[in-house]
Symmetry: D2
Subunit: 203 residues, 4 copies
Amino acid sequence: MKALFLSCTLKASLAPSKTEALAQVLVRQFEEEGITSEIVRLADYNVKPGVSSDEGEGDDWPFIRGKIVAADILVMGTPTWLGQHSSICQRALERMDAMLSETAEDGRPIAFDKVGGIVITGNEDGAHHIVACVSQPLIDIGFTMPANCWTYWHLGPGPGPDYLETDQAHDYSDRLARNAARNMAAVARALKASPLPQQETSG
Amino acid sequence: MKALFLSCTLKASLAPSKTEALAQVLVRQFEEEGITSEIVRLADYNVKPGVSSDEGEGDDWPFIRGKIVAADILVMGTPTWLGQHSSICQRALERMDAMLSETAEDGRPIAFDKVGGIVITGNEDGAHHIVACVSQPLIDIGFTMPANCWTYWHLGPGPGPDYLETDQAHDYSDRLARNAARNMAAVARALKASPLPQQETSG
Amino acid sequence: MKALFLSCTLKASLAPSKTEALAQVLVRQFEEEGITSEIVRLADYNVKPGVSSDEGEGDDWPFIRGKIVAADILVMGTPTWLGQHSSICQRALERMDAMLSETAEDGRPIAFDKVGGIVITGNEDGAHHIVACVSQPLIDIGFTMPANCWTYWHLGPGPGPDYLETDQAHDYSDRLARNAARNMAAVARALKASPLPQQETSG
Amino acid sequence: MKALFLSCTLKASLAPSKTEALAQVLVRQFEEEGITSEIVRLADYNVKPGVSSDEGEGDDWPFIRGKIVAADILVMGTPTWLGQHSSICQRALERMDAMLSETAEDGRPIAFDKVGGIVITGNEDGAHHIVACVSQPLIDIGFTMPANCWTYWHLGPGPGPDYLETDQAHDYSDRLARNAARNMAAVARALKASPLPQQETSG
């Protein structure tokens, strides 16, 4: 099984990413579960605005989309700015809008039997909001969101250090990360053994 | 398997509920799946404010909570007011806050292996927001949210008829309802066959 | 000018309220601005579910509503549970739904020229989400939300002390509180001097 | 006085924009109020990801930011995708994060005395959520959100025509648009006559 992390930090490689640092905790747990992980930093790609699966020349989304389709687990990793997920995370979800009507060979929605997860870092507030706002479109598109499928780290209130600048409360966020990975792995396996049914269509 | 619907309409029985009317579409589908359903209208009970599982004398929540614990599937049914879920829905979620730290005999969180779903009716707008705001706490508490585990009905923009006053677009919402029930049933069965793992605790 | 605080803590008087403790910082600033404040703890009242301004026998909302109508500034004070505002806060907003169509003697919406504000305390996360979810209905109902009209206090991630149990970061939240009060006072005065216009109605 | 519309449609000019079509109703009302409007379609520009006011070579944000600073009224216009505002809208808000700490010559936050507004079009759902999620950062940055400072149009549930494809319910959304423009104009004037006060800073 494969886990794909879409890292939605605003900085391209090689800038350090606090969100990817926390994501690494899930990667290690996935490894223990026999799941291989790949982290793709979206800021390194040209993901054009739009709601089709291919926005034409220069659009890197078809490459990203291929990785989503090939994965069993999709983890959105996002920083928090102004209490909300990043525009790059929103862009990726927006592009997945096309998946609302895309079906696999068996006629079921293309995201079926895949599970979702979320990793959030910031310096003060917003994680629960982001869980809400990222879970809703993923559920809508056809992902299943397992129990406790997320972790976050921030302090608050006001400006402060980030996840890379302090060890404070890492134990809490890291434990949540490992449990999240365990549950994502379990639900992904459960759905592999027992897939979602065919859907009634409007036709 | 059992499905519990918490109907969060603002009116006590016997006032007609448009949310329960749409919920009945899921009930019928659950029946086809061999799942028995119960709809509990929370406005008929005294659910006291608080975040413990028993707020003392006169509190009906322990009775409701017992039904949640006994169910495999929990569907929150809520009207939309000002674009948001009802205060009764929020009250129920708030009371479930206690479940964050409650474990079953096997040591796992009490909501594990249960799946959640959402039914929303209104007259103009707000369904996706409610899916976000209800999914997030349910995931946090330990419910798994299956792909497409919700349906809604409203028209828009501005004031207009409700689900009981017109047949407009019922076919769309009802089809979503049946698919939601199918997926909730499938994931509940998958988790019964292949339960979530033990969690790493802070101790 | 008068400021009304609706305290939406889940506990009735005389239980201590961390939200009211932070609200007191605004109260003191309002005093410096010549504005008298009143804090009403909604858990002490029977605010029935519903979307009319009077839900009949035993409903205390008409009493609360009278205070809102008489105030120039309305501050919603709420704790954070599961990353969201309290069900009591949601109940109050829900009852204000009736104000969408209520007009003053001059024919303008009853909330016009009033300003809103928000005070939030919790122990880990959710303030920005609550600002979003409380601002939207208040704006919808006819309140004007001034720049920086809110303050919050929480730490994070994970469980921890509350505002009454530590002095950590009080200076940040208290300064925000004073600035919020200054701006609410300024906008309330500006709207008194220069009221909102008549609205075009559907008739 | 000047109103700036940031059009956050996903398509560059000259593709038709349903959001801009609804925005034109506000433009006409602003004209009656003696306010000149400019609509800037962000998809025509290279707004780089980041949270500084200038992300270096090729970044068009400094040009856009200059227009925001020069405007008295800022209206965010966004389509709805998956029940949420567009990634382009999120990008613009994210870039405004820098304004949290930017001050004008008089030492007050750069957005002070400016008012915000929102125009939303979609085909099924999400307007109230977007009002919440756009109002919160604007308030945080220093904009004042007047009573009823938004309009929206969508039908629901399910796929359907857009604002440009049908006249259904235009009267409702257009009336809201005119009232929103009236109130934004009134509050902008009120704040010009009676500006927000100096803020207490941490120094």
